[in-house]
Subunit: 192 residues, 2 copies
């Protein structure tokens, strides 16, 4: 289930300790086996603070629905949430970095990699890639209808679940693209 | 802009330092003036560790779109992200807790509060409410089409933005609800 949540999520919220306290950063990511792959510009100051061995906390939260109960108190959300702990390894070999690039892009938009110009040496050098083998993880899930107090079930208000998902609107072509090109299938009715 | 992001977001990712390191928790929240309001079960161990004065980091990330570039390297996301820092205050007075309940529910589903049975003393006692006055905040935003390297613009692949939003599917009535009741307007075509 931990892997399934990681594979479905779009952005991870990564917590690290800095000299100024805790900071939480939103990052795209990918899973390669038991490793969470993260990346960013090599010039990034915050990323540069993550050396091999730095402990981090990776949280991925999938929002599945609003749970509308009869009492304000019993309102909730349906969700699947994963938290994983480990220490980062800075990936330095070009082959490992290339594999990370592919995993990151295919995680974001499955099918996109083969349509793109793949990274050159300069781009690979300009990117910091981190790998976090998952040492410890836990999953929390809520599903199903509201759970109201027994006597609240006679109240007249509507109760139930409003399912939620991240969905796409119509793709917007880059104005710099000459002429008309068909929108690729993976960019239509995208859903996470 | 910081307030607008807070008001549009659904879930905050809250980072705190524990004796076992950093942990990031997903939490529903609300904004009341310059305060971020959080809550949870009084029995919750993790929430109990947040005493008045505990520093926390609150991150809210709105995912606005996938940015499909010509090169793998230039792929990105459009987003608006807020990070806020401060220290929590435990809200103990019943009136403040009631106001927090209303703000939290109206943040989640605007219009819902008046349709629900409002919290009683027992429920208020069973809930820990935290307020974090925002001491420091910063916002990061990406918008617009991909930015490819100059010579990549002649490549034949489709490029552009796939807009994203959190949207609802058809509401599912609680099976425990007797007979048919109209789905309230706020539960139809919900979008964040």
């Amino acid at each position: 289930m931990a892997y399934a949540i990681l594979d479905e999520g779009l952005v991870a919220h990564v917590g690290i300790e800095t000299t100024n306290g805790v900071i939480v950063m939103p990052m795209t990511y990918a899973r390669l086996g038991n490793d969470v792959i993260l990346h960013g510009a090599a010039a990034s100051r915050w990323l540069g603070s993550l050396e091999t061995g730095t402990p981090i906390c990776v949280r991925v939260t999938l929002l599945d629905g609003l749970v509308l109960a009869r009492s304000a108190f019993a309102h909730s959300m349906n969700y699947r949430s994963l938290v994983a702990f480990g220490a980062v390894t800075v990936v330095t070999d070009a082959q490992g970095k290339r594999a990370a690039f592919e995993a990151l892009l295919e995680h974001l938009v499955p099918g996109r990699w083969d349509d793109t110009r793949q990274p050159n040496d300069k781009e690979i050098a300009a990117t910091t890639v981190l790998s976090m083998p998952i040492l410890e993880a836990s999953v929390k899930i809520r599903t199903g209808p509201p759970k109201d107090a027994a006597r609240d079930y006679e109240l007249p208000c509507w109760a139930g679940v409003v399912p939620l998902a991240i969905r796409s609107d119509t793709a917007m072509a880059d104005p710099m693209m000459p002429g008309e090109r068909a929108v690729p299938a993976y960019a239509v009715d995208y859903r996470r």
